[in-house]
Symmetry: C2
């Protein structure tokens, strides 16, 4: 895949995800809730996680409509976590994706609720809507419309992968460690464990959910897991580098925040130059894992790994 083709691929994927979010995040949720939800997730971000889902699904010959639902679900979990993390009782941030954060715009109560509703919506989007009066059968629920895009066993698997990545052992657990680590010296191992949970788990799940939409052998699945783990850490190393090297207007969020909050980062633990070398090593590990996977159509995944490391915001 040439760089121009990859840019076009990314733009197309981003447009598909944006259109699906526009369609599925309800404008008419009660009492302004829908407005806050849409503000928190539309028109924003690089959509890295959804692109990973789509790329992994393509690499494994996945069902495109199922992968799109998985992509949107992952982005909703990511967006809900940003809304909650930005709140005054957590990181107390006022700027996100170049806009006032959700609680600044809509108040704390609505922000918390919007995050909660987006969290739930991720699982709604992965599962078929119930038919009214459909009866029930624990072993073989009735087909609920041929127009639903995900076979029931895959719905279950996607829900499980997403839940395990975002819960106490993954993203939420990582955020708890983050809050408890302010001002503490952390070893590189402890820092890596925190970020493996806080950021890495959902990036890894993006790759796995995409791959679950397709077919792959156990060896390829393991290689994709290695790829996902490597870019999960690389993403955070680069985030820490950008926090000290970029301005707020480039990042679209408050720069220098980690340093000001006395949070341990890869830069504070390793130093800037070693952090840069580490990011490049992780990219190489991701490429090596893709080679091991034996998947024919992994070009987009490879270029996404490059983009994770070479981005400037």
């Amino acid at each position: 895949m040439k760089p121009d083709d990859f840019d076009a691929w990314m733009r197309q994927g981003q447009a598909e995800v944006e259109a699906a979010l526009q369609a599925w995040v309800p404008a008419d949720a009660p009492a302004g809730l829908g407005e806050a939800m849409r503000y928190g997730v539309l028109d924003g971000g690089k959509r890295l996680r959804p692109l990973l889902v789509l790329a992994a699904s393509q690499a494994t010959g996945g069902l495109p409509a199922a992968a799109l639902r998985a992509a949107v679900a992952v982005e909703l979990i990511h967006a809900y976590s940003l809304i909650h993390d930005d709140m005054p009782c957590m990181d107390n941030d006022v700027l996100r994706r170049g806009k006032p954060t959700v609680h600044v715009q809509f108040g704390q109560a609505q922000a918390m609720l919007a995050g909660d509703a987006m969290h739930t919506l991720a699982f709604e989007i992965l599962t078929a809507p119930p038919e009214r009066g459909a009866g029930c059968d624990g072993l073989a629920p009735p087909e609920r419309g041929a127009d639903f895009e995900i076979p029931a066993p895959l719905q279950a698997r996607l829900c499980g992968l997403l839940a395990r990545a975002s819960g106490h052992a993954g993203m939420a657990g990582g955020q708890a460690i983050d809050l408890a680590s302010v001002g503490l010296p952390l070893s590189e191992a402890a820092l890596r464990d925190m970020h493996r949970r806080k950021t890495g788990a959902l990036l890894l799940a993006s790759v796995q959910m995409g791959a679950a939409c397709g077919r792959c052998e156990p060896a390829a699945w393991r290689a994709l897991a290695d790829y996902g783990a490597a870019i999960g850490i690389a993403f955070q190393v680069v985030d820490d580098i950008l926090d000290v090297t970029q301005e707020s207007h480039t990042l679209g969020k408050t720069a220098g925040k980690d340093q000001d909050a006395n949070k341990p980062t890869y830069v504070s633990v390793l130093g800037l130059q070693a952090a840069r070398r580490h990011a490049a090593e992780l990219r190489d590990q991701a490429h090596a894992a893709l080679s091991r996977s034996g998947l024919a159509d992994a070009a987009a995944l490879a270029l996404l790994a490059d983009r994770v490391v070479e981005r400037d915001n």
Copy 2:
């Protein structure tokens, strides 16, 4: 079922749910998160929603182990919503189930995260854990251990029922209306719509998730939905009555709160006597729906409807 038998049935169900929560809500989640989660859900509450799940599953010949997972998942969603609703930016309550609320005990950041992690855990408990290196197949994921209690299509259906009841169109949407309604005059229809979402949707989903674990014809499914809708409203009517007729120490939460906050309630809209009559009517509607269902073993559901209306806390 005699009253003594029903009491014994309730105690057994409550004990099973408590044991499952003890086993499945992790004590070792990082940085104190597990402690906050367990504080927020263990040793507390009447476990009405789990009992509805278990009773509906029994009435439809459901798989007991699947029903127990569904029961725990519903209770986790309920408990997360209480933690978030109690926070200072929402209802700002300090007492719940006779104990300091989670944010009073652990701080706001940990309370928000504990709620988030419990929200996710509900969906983890409904879905099989992934086997490491298992490969993938979008149409027929590999069996992940014969010891997992819920067939994959039922995992998907339970996730879907739970998500739709607790999201923007259900519980979270109802809470948004609640926040927006403080100090406003509401019609009975508007009040009913708010509570149908805020409280009723999850009570209804409890019945539906239990029934989904078993087998029933469409007519019985519709009757159970009518039952669930009736007790969902009845529960809130009685809550509003208790808020003005009971003391805090009986309720285990702050009494008179709705009145103090100038929130519309069934008592403020209908008056106390009419609210009491309405609760009794709704109980009768629930009983009639059970008769229509044609289910042989609906005694526990019938007695739970009585208990919803006759409780004093």
